[in-house]
């Protein structure tokens, strides 16, 4: 679900690693939040995406602090957010293509967990086949 001004109180810098207020104010990007059914007002994670006319580019993805570390409340926040971006890519007619930049130490994890492919250095993308797996795993019909 897209983040609105009403969610700003949950986007304070102290609660997140990235500056989501700045991201929200960038009109070229769409900031979306992940919540649970039983707690729809609590943001579990955030994603910032941009439509680049032939793919969806993922600028920022972050799980809420209570979903990080060894005692994270929920697993799968990241995967759900990426799967959502994949759905947007499909809806826009981009065959599920996603692109993003990875941290060096996470490249292998993105390859294994998302089926992402390395493009150049830290640049990665998710092909339509891999993206379809994400959709089927996270959005059961």
């Amino acid at each position: 679900m897209q983040v609105t001004d009403r969610d700003k109180s949950q986007l304070k810098k102290s609660l997140w690693q990235f500056n989501w207020i700045k991201e929200l104010n960038d009109k070229s990007k769409c900031v979306c939040r992940l919540t649970t059914v039983n707690k729809p007002t609590i943001i579990q994670g955030l994603i910032s995406i941009e439509d680049l006319n032939d793919r969806i580019f993922m600028h920022l993805i972050e799980s809420a602090k209570f979903n990080n570390g060894k005692n994270k409340m929920y697993l799968g926040v990241f995967g759900n957010l990426v799967a959502y971006a994949r759905m947007v890519s499909v809806d826009q007619g981009y065959d599920g293509f996603l692109a993003f930049d990875a941290k060096t130490e996470l490249i292998k994890h993105y390859e294994d967990s998302l089926g992402a492919t390395d493009f150049r250095g830290l640049k990665m993308f998710i092909k339509p086949v891999a993206a379809s797996k994400l959709i089927s795993q996270y959005f059961k019909s």
Binding site: K70, Y110, K123, Y138
Partner: protein
Amino acid sequence: MGPIRELRNIDFTVKSEPWTEQELVDFRILMATI
């Protein structure tokens, strides 16, 4: 098939940087071949 395996001790985040024009061109060529 279950959800993607996510390790408890690894925190996934993404912070992307703008791609250069050349990278965009090369990536579009790559996309066309897939």
